[in-house]
Amino acid sequence: MRTLTEQDAVVRLDEHIRAAVEQLSPAPRLEPGLAGSMPCDDPDDGGPPGRVFVEAHHWLRDVPARRNRQIFDTLHDFWVAEGYEVLSDLRDRPEAPHLKVRHRADGFSVSLRENLERDLKVSGSSPCVWPDGDPPDDADAVRPVRG
């Protein structure tokens, strides 16, 4: 099945993250963290080999910690309104709260996390995509399943 290309996925993921950050006022400064792609097939998961996840992290800087809860709530309401499915909502946890959502249409997930020092980080990942968008010719071959 044809998918976004890896590069398209990088762009789309960035759009998801930017859309979230734009809800915040005053706007935090984004500091890039880990980014890259990773094979999303496992040799024994039975899926066709060769696809990748794209992932990106950004720290939200220049945000006073007292605003953290408000940011969690703002993004929760934004994501729900935009049709994201809530995967995990631990906003109420006193330490290391997090909120994870996934876009119902395109399968991208986005997370907001607070670490033990109360820094906020927004991150996301794409669903599995073929690097060039097109599966190789033999990708639909059925592989046995188990691990």
Partner: protein
């Protein structure tokens, strides 16, 4: 002399030589031969000078052997120099004939010596010279397996000259009425084919060669050690080598008994051991990670060259698909050249990815090569961040299908685990080691057997013990994470001995070889397990590998993972950023078990999202 295209014709002493394909070959060798020449001269001088100082009790026969080989090598150097000269300058200056380079064995030896002496410096040379290890025939038995070969395939040559009549020809001419006096001066043209394949033999590629004999091994190491000792001016090492050619290996054996002794070695001794015995140093659990890293990078480089040579050779073979012959009982079927080439190419891609990560990636911690072998399906132990200095040390054991050619994905997981842990707890540091230090099953059929786990269990225990020895500062919090069959390896390691770890994390386990957590000899509250609701691994029958650690009766701490896609793909989604399993693993790794979340009921999995178009 005339050159037309890549065919060269020249006449010397009444003989006309016609050589094809040499220009191309000569050009590729020319750069290397001069560098090699200088290198060998230096090394030989060093070794010979050191030998003259040798006064120890073991000198005797061995010194004679070494002396004879060294003088042989000296003349071989000349032969190689001449060969290189002839080949590289052939189109312009035919200073010699092919006959003058018929020192096959000597050329082999020189190339081999080069390979042994300085693989780093001479990698370019060896790749040009195509030096292989091969068996040679009829040499001194002691060195019978010690030979490199300069591969001149692609070069063809013949020689035309006039010769007197043979007895038969003369008789035929007399019978035909020729005058005997005329026949005395009659010459007839003769053309002989010179096959560079016999002149400089096409190699038996090194993968097929049995291990070097003990004698040649000692000689190789000795020669190199002497050369290094001389160059670094280490008189102490020279004295020790003079007493016993195996001094270096004995020194390493002494370290092996207690790896902490590494720090008692002199700086030169450490350098020696890394340079001369990189395989042994690289594989020694308990040595400092940076030391193993240095040694294994040498091993990696050598392996890459050997694989590249083998691939080049295979590409000259018939690569058409052919039916696999039936193996003899008890043996595996030999690979076809095409299949072997595909495997090597995959390994080389894995090595490429590994080298890129080892070279450093902006924004990610440095990576260290803690173990490496290209044998079989390949092994690699790669640390993201230096575990010797980390507060939290994680060993990640990958599962079915893991091999050198696929190591990239596993290291990416390690990068994410490090990133997650350091993001959650910035005040502590975390290192994650991808431990592909065992032969993983490569098929689902193989993964139904506990044999591979048994093979890895002892190695994993030994590795974990080594981490404690080399760690600097107070003890680290050690976690061993397994995925899929990797959990089975961990289970067998803990079941059959003491696995040195504070926490176990068993992700998507098909079974860990015991039916209850008590069989793992660990504090049950520190044995964690998870499986996605949609992961088919949970349907593995328990009679194969034991009870799954996520079963309620097993007694492990089961933690939450996202349910995953309702497809087989859920088996590998644990390292997706959207998966809460990643947050839970980061909490365990950093010692914040209070933040670990328990599984939530997932009544019905939702529909899979439509892949984006």
């Amino acid at each position: 002399m005339a050159a037309v295209g890549d065919e060269v014709t020249y006449t010397e002493q009444g003989r006309t030589y016609r050589v094809r394909g040499l220009q191309a070959k000569g050009q590729s060798i020319s750069g290397g031969s001069h560098e090699l020449d200088g290198l060998i001269t230096t090394r030989l001088t060093a070794a010979k000078t050191a030998l003259e100082q040798w006064r120890g009790p073991h000198a005797g026969t061995f010194v004679e052997d070494v002396n004879s080989v060294l003088s042989k090598m000296a003349s071989q150097k000349v032969a190689l120099w001449r060969a290189g000269n002839i080949v590289s300058q052939f189109p312009d200056k035919p200073t010699g004939s092919w006959g003058s380079v018929r020192y096959q064995d000597e050329i082999y030896m020189s190339a081999r010596v080069d390979l042994l002496l300085d693989p780093g410096v001479t990698s370019a040379v060896t790749s040009q010279l195509r030096a292989y290890v091969t068996t040679s025939s009829g040499q001194d038995e002691r060195f019978s397996t010690l030979a490199g070969v300069v591969n001149l395939d692609g070069v063809t040559a013949d020689v035309t000259y006039n010769r007197p009549l043979t007895a038969t020809e003369r008789q035929q001419a007399l019978d035909a009425g020729e005058h005997p006096a005329d026949l005395d001066v009659t010459m007839v043209p003769q053309t002989d084919t010179i096959d560079p394949g016999t002149l400089i033999t096409l190699p038996t590629p090194n993968a097929d060669v049995p291990a070097l004999t003990e004698g040649s091994r000692i000689l190789n190491e000795f020669t190199l050690a002497v050369a290094v000792a001389f160059e670094t001016g280490d008189q102490g090492m020279l004295d020790r080598l003079a007493k016993d050619p195996d001094a270096l290996r004995l020194r390493l054996d002494w370290v092996r008994e207690d790896p902490r002794r590494w720090n008692q070695l002199s700086e030169t001794e450490r350098l020696f051991l890394i340079q001369v015995l990189p395989n042994e140093v690289g594989a020694m659990d308990g040595l400092p990670i940076v030391v193993r890293d240095q040694a294994n990078r040498i091993v990696l480089q050598r392996s890459r060259e050997a694989l590249q040579s083998r691939a080049d050779f295979l590409r000259t073979q018939d690569l058409r698909p052919r039916p696999t012959p039936m193996p003899h009982p008890g043996e595996t079927a030999p690979l076809s050249p095409a299949d072997e080439l595909a495997q090597i190419e995959e390994k080389l891609r894995g090595i490429d990815a590994l080298e890129r990560r080892l070279a450093g990636v902006p924004g990610r911690p440095p990576a260290f090569l803690v173990g490496f072998s290209a044998d079989g399906t390949g092994r690699a132990i790669v640390a993201v961040g230096n575990p010797d200095y980390a507060d939290n040390v994680v060993t990640y054991v990958p599962g079915t299908g893991s091999r050198l050619g696929k190591i990239n994905g596993d290291i990416e997981r390690a990068d994410r685990m490090v990133g997650d842990a350091n993001a959650l707890a910035p005040s502590s540091s975390t290192s994650v080691i991808t431990w592909l230090g065992y032969d993983a099953p490569q098929s689902l059929g193989q993964a139904t057997s506990g044999r591979y786990a048994d093979g890895g269990a002892g190695l994993l225990r030994h590795f974990q013990d080594g981490l404690d020895i080399s760690h600097i500062g107070g003890p680290a919090t050690e976690t061993v994470v397994g995925h899929s069959y990797g959990t089975t390896v961990i289970g067998h390691a803990a079941r059959d001995g003491h696995l040195n770890a504070d926490n176990l994390i068993l992700v998507a386990s098909p079974g860990v070889g015991v039916d209850n957590v008590s069989g793992l000899h660990m504090d049950a509250s520190h044995v964690y397990a998870t499986v996605a609701a949609n992961d088919p691994i949970q349907y593995t029958p328990p009679f194969l590998l034991g009870t799954k650690p996520t079963n309620p009766g097993f007694g492990a701490q089961v933690f939450e993972s996202a349910p995953g896609s309702p497809s087989v793909h859920a088996h590998s989604e644990y390292w997706d950023d959207g998966n809460v399993a990643r947050d839970n693993m980061a909490a365990i790794i950093t010692g914040r078990r209070d933040l670990v979340t328990e599984p939530r009921p997932h009544p019905t999995p939702g529909p899979a999202p439509t892949p984006p178009r």
